[in-house]
Symmetry: C3
């Protein structure tokens, strides 16, 4: 993977997004930075985080950034490959805490502009089902769609995962 490139890896539940993103990063020399946006608020979430962490081997340095993602990106040394897993959890944390989403998204985009080094962003595609009944879910779905389009416009590579296999939506394989 060439340096200074931004990847967006999108996909559904258990579509192999994290695994694929890790393989993109691990094609670069270590050390690698992992920015986890999950907040282990319940047992189910704790289990998922532990399973993800167990899969990653040596060479990874993990930091947690459930809300201040832009700062976490700014803290990464130039040239260090960074994986952010995942944008939808970050967005969900912002919305559940009443943070202004547009400001945070602008801040993220600016931090991505400042970044020097390979960066892979993982996110869940959530907008291809039936329109949800409840307003918060609808707002979240819309915010995720807008965020993905904004990030994809700046990314050199967009991969859409289907059954563990990346399809190239933008850029080259």
């Amino acid at each position: 993977m060439p340096v200074d490139k931004l990847y967006l890896v999108l996909g559904g539940a258990r579509s192999g997004k994290s695994r694929h993103a890790e393989s993109l990063i691990e094609a670069c020399p270590p050390p690698w930075r992992y920015i986890a946006t999950a907040e282990p608020l319940d047992e189910e979430m704790r289990r998922r985080i532990a399973a993800h962490k167990a899969r990653r081997g040596n060479g990874w340095h993990t930091v947690e950034a459930p809300r201040d993602l832009a700062s976490a990106l700014d803290d990464c040394p130039d040239g260090t490959p960074v994986l952010v897993d995942c944008l939808t959890l970050w967005l969900s944390n912002l919305m559940l805490n009443g943070r202004p989403v547009e400001t945070a998204v602008d801040g993220l985009l600016e931090a991505l502009e400042r970044r020097r080094g390979p960066t892979v962003l993982v996110s869940n595609e959530v907008g291809l089902g039936i329109v949800p009944d409840n307003r918060l879910a609808r707002d979240f779905r819309d915010a995720a769609g807008s965020l993905h389009a904004k990030v994809a416009a700046r990314a050199e590579h967009v991969h859409f995962m289907v059954a563990g296999i990346p399809s190239i939506v933008k850029g080259t394989g």
Copy 2:
């Protein structure tokens, strides 16, 4: 874009469908016809319609056709590029008003056969989430899937939007 061609632009929530469809139409010389199927029944819908309208510039003539889409297509002058936004809202309006869906879909397909001029149909892909609990949502999801397959079979071009980027499902870029 060559004339006399039918495009179907499918995608999830905020995936850039409308924007992409507009760019396809605006590659043709104006004036352009915009057929809006939305009924501004509540505040959220009114806001979305206004935002869409504000984005479209001069050169667009908007007509509203929440139910009689075939007639609205027949009323378009030969050669005038037409954008229909969107089929899922139209389908939803039919179902909520108890109109027979199959008859309406057949009518739409016949109107598309009669059309002379570039036509871009926008629609929401809603069938890739978990099966909904309630019957109406399930029927809607099925009807949308069938409608998309029927329209896609007749279209020269089918684009599937992922994060604001069109993937070519049928035809050429």
Copy 3:
């Protein structure tokens, strides 16, 4: 279609999965084996099964395997083309009956290893909508995602249906 090949046909509701899978099988000489995983527990399901059956013509031999899919695959004669429709219904039957999913999935993968003859597996992509509120739906969505990735890793061909049109995710057209 070359023999001894495994196809996975994924897609949303009414996306033309079954029809496409049948066309893949019918490109081989008959007789063809159809393994139905649906259990006709209610009227809606009975209607869907009848509609699918009516579409298939002569040359098809149908067996039902709502749970013991591995055995049903083992019972297929070498060289006979087999269509399994569909994996998500099978998974749902297992979960609703409290069967251990991982064991069943391992059993399926082993049966696929033993298979001699063209095999087409149909399944619903259900992981691209909003995260469901209820736990069972979330577990099902995760289990389906994992199953698809495991099967896709072994398949020579993975097709993703959009509006009745197959997109090639893995393999060649």
